[in-house]
């Protein structure tokens, strides 16, 4: 029971399929609308929200600017507090570390706290291949795992499912994974949460090894922080004997005091609460309390590639709140699966290309999955200028395809335009042609823009990609240069003018 994003089609194709799913669109509109209103209310309560965002951005920017020092310091602090630190260059290396530790304790299962890093490295699949079952314990992750589904949101991976669908998944799938759902299961969220409590309790009580991520890792003290709601995190971080935390290297925060702006920003941006129900902090091994064997795996897996991009490195400030998903007009309509990654939405549209580079058609399509409206930047608690990075990444995608054997239609069009625009005679010829097209269209075309101007309808060939989602106004019948010649720059109005409406 493990689905992966491998082989997902590029965004436009996947988005078209998602848009046809009316149930999905209904579920998403309802859920994102709810969370947007909650966020706006609690953010409005904070007097200095903008200053808080600046402080949050500054903390993360400062941590990244001196990342080597901070990582070495984190390793020292953790080690001094009894934790074992591992380093993993890529997903395979990180999975191998976790599997090795689990195997050394002879377990065939681990319990998991929801973690984006372990999703990203596809840890569950890697452990499964070694005969170790990884049980997701966050409610939404459980829904995704039982349903053999893919996550579609950073915070609420099952946001695409409504209560009726969740009830069906619990009824049909829980028994194969452990304690079955009760017979009288309804689709009330409280009843469904109760079923998850019963189902997972036996797993928490017997688990020997737990796997978590971390929201923050404090270099100065070696403190790891997990922010959660349900208490599944506390269960995993407290009851088992062994704890393995998989932490991206960008999670580091220089000092404990600097958790302050972040802990004020994250819950309000994320779940729209003043504070999330539970935040756990632990520093290595606490004698007599919780796991007595603590491992921390520091993962690169593309983060240093993102760090090397001077414009894009700000994306590593991300604290995974998912506010940008909830406000994005594109995400709200297509949902998360269309992005083909565990990181969907606006942040995914920049993180994936930054971490994985250019060349894969699916990844290359992501910087275009945006209208550049800027709502994501406005809500981002650490002020990641997502539109700026999107535009920057579009230029990188274009650059990466300059040497392609079969050039893109866009590149051909741009070349043709350059050829025409660099010579006055060619330009004049082009203008005559477009003027002719304008005359014909105004006469035969039926489609009109508001205001009465004719539109070109659907263009043939590669041009159809443009007109498929846009109105192309009919070209003016007379170019500016022709008008200037005819009227002597407007000093001698001719009869031609009166026929034309809304041109130039």
């Amino acid at each position: 029971m493990s689905a992966t994003f491998v082989g997902m089609p590029p965004f436009p194709t996947a988005a078209r399929q998602a848009l046809a799913d009316t149930q999905l669109r209904h579920n998403l509109a309802h859920a994102t609308g709810t969370i947007r209103a909650k966020r706006a209310k609690v953010v409005g309560e904070v007097e200095h929200w903008e200053d808080l965002r600046l402080a949050g951005a500054a903390v993360k920017a400062r941590a990244l600017a001196d990342l080597e020092t901070n990582l070495v310091r984190l390793e020292e602090s953790l080690t001094a507090q009894g934790a074992t630190v591992h380093w993993a260059r890529d997903a395979a290396e990180a999975c191998e570390v976790v599997a090795r530790v689990a195997r050394s304790h002879d377990v065939d299962e681990v319990v998991k706290v929801k973690s984006m890093a372990t999703q990203e490295i596809e840890l569950n699949e890697a452990l499964q291949a070694q005969g170790i079952a990884a049980w997701e314990t966050d409610l939404a992750e459980l829904i995704v795992q039982l349903g053999d589904d893919l996550p579609s949101h950073i915070l609420v991976p099952a946001i695409h499912r409504n209560r009726a669908e969740i009830r069906e998944i619990f009824r049909s799938k829980m028994s194969a994974a452990g304690k079955p759902a009760p017979d009288d299961l309804t689709d009330e969220p409280a009843v469904l949460a109760g079923a998850a409590r019963q189902h997972l309790r036996e797993k928490f009580l017997r688990a020997k090894v737990a796997v978590s991520g971390a929201n923050f890792a404090v270099a100065e003290t070696g403190t790891l922080v997990v922010v959660e709601s349900e208490g599944n995190g506390r269960m995993c971080l407290t009851l088992p004997e062994v704890l393995i935390s998989v932490v991206g290297i960008e999670k580091v925060v220089p000092t404990f005091a600097e958790l302050d702006p972040l802990l004020r920003l994250l819950p309000r941006s994320s779940t729209g609460e003043r504070m999330n129900p539970y935040t756990s902090m632990w520093t290595g091994v606490t004698p007599g309390d919780g796991p007595q064997e603590v491992h921390v795996v520091l993962v690169d897996n593309g983060r240093t590639r993102a760090l090397a991009d001077e414009v894009g490195r700000q994306a590593l400030r991300c604290i995974r709140c998912s506010a940008c998903l909830n406000v994005c007009p594109v995400y709200e309509r297509t949902g998360g699966h269309a992005y083909g990654s565990v990181y969907p939405g606006p942040i995914g549209a920049i993180l994936n290309p930054l971490m994985r580079g250019q060349g894969d058609p699916q990844v290359d399509s992501l910087p275009y999955a945006s209208s550049l409206c800027g709502a994501c930047f406005e809500v981002c608690p650490v002020r990641i200028d997502i539109p700026e990075v999107l535009v920057h990444l579009r230029s990188k995608v274009v650059d990466a395809h300059r040497e392609d054997r079969v050039p893109k239609a866009e590149a051909v069009a741009m070349k043709g335009t350059a050829w025409a625009f660099t010579d006055a005679r060619r330009l004049a010829a082009g203008e005559r042609l477009s003027g002719l097209a304008g005359r014909v269209l105004t006469r035969v075309g039926k489609a009109r823009l508001p205001g009465g101007r004719a539109t070109a309808g659907r263009l043939p060939g590669p041009g159809a990609a443009w007109t498929g989602a846009r109105d192309l106004p009919a070209p003016p019948r007379e170019s500016f240069r022709a008008w200037w010649r005819r009227t002597d720059g407007g000093r001698a109005e001719g009869p031609e003018q009166s026929e034309q409406k809304g041109g130039e």
Partner: protein, 214 residues
């Protein structure tokens, strides 16, 4: 011990390569930009006296937790009142450092997770209360006990002294000891994973009673 520590740090090729990549990636960053001082975040909410305590009570109740206020001499009776709905014979774990007569008290004598799962309630003190966010921070000192005891039982009675309540998150962070294991609690366990509708009561204690004493 030193040897053991040295062994724990795996200075393998992955570590050197990652740190090398980080160095190369940041080659354009000047030494001044690297040494930026920590920012001064804006102040949190400013609250004092009765307003502070009222805000704390209001915000804790907002999470659907129950708050009782009492004088120090009424503490034992107030805690007993919070436990009363569990009925006769209900048991409550009481950490060794909490000097309070609790009905049905069980001391944490190496209780296993399964033992804790069979106990109805837990009574603990707290380290700090945050008014603006309605949060209680446990740092698991002797009057709060290890983390598991305030997690597995289904009802948590948490005693907060009025002099422990601070206005906002920055005040709390400034006074905490980062080397201690900590749990920040804001209401009973909850989830918004189904249609982003908040539901109280998942894996952590489904009922939270806060007793504000003093």
């Amino acid at each position: 011990m030193v040897e053991e520590r040295a062994q724990r740090v795996s200075r393998g090729p992955a570590r050197e390569e990652i740190l090398g990549r980080v160095r190369a990636a940041l080659a354009d960053v000047s030494p001044e930009d690297r040494a930026t001082p920590a920012p001064t975040p804006p102040p949190g909410a400013h609250l004092e006296g009765d307003a502070l305590l009222e805000r704390f009570v209001e915000r804790v109740e907002d999470y659907k937790a129950t708050v009782r206020r009492c004088a120090p001499e009424d503490l034992a009776a107030t805690v007993a009142e919070a436990l009363a709905p569990l009925g006769e014979g209900a048991r409550a774990v009481v950490p060794s450092g909490l000097d309070l007569a609790v009905p049905g008290a069980v001391s944490d004598d190496a209780l296993t997770s399964y033992d804790l799962d069979g106990i109805e309630a837990v009574v603990t003190a707290a380290r700090v209360g945050i008014a603006e966010t309605g949060t209680i921070v446990l740092d698991h000192g002797p009057d709060q006990g290890r983390r598991a005891i305030s997690l597995v039982p289904d009802l948590h009675v948490c005693i907060v002294r009025t002099d422990q309540v601070v206005a906002d998150v920055p005040d709390a962070v400034a006074g905490l000891d980062p080397t201690r294991a900590m749990t920040w609690i804001s209401g009973p366990s909850a989830t918004s994973d189904i249609e982003l509708d908040r539901v109280e009561g998942v894996h952590g204690p489904r009922t939270l009673h806060v007793v504000l004493v003093g």
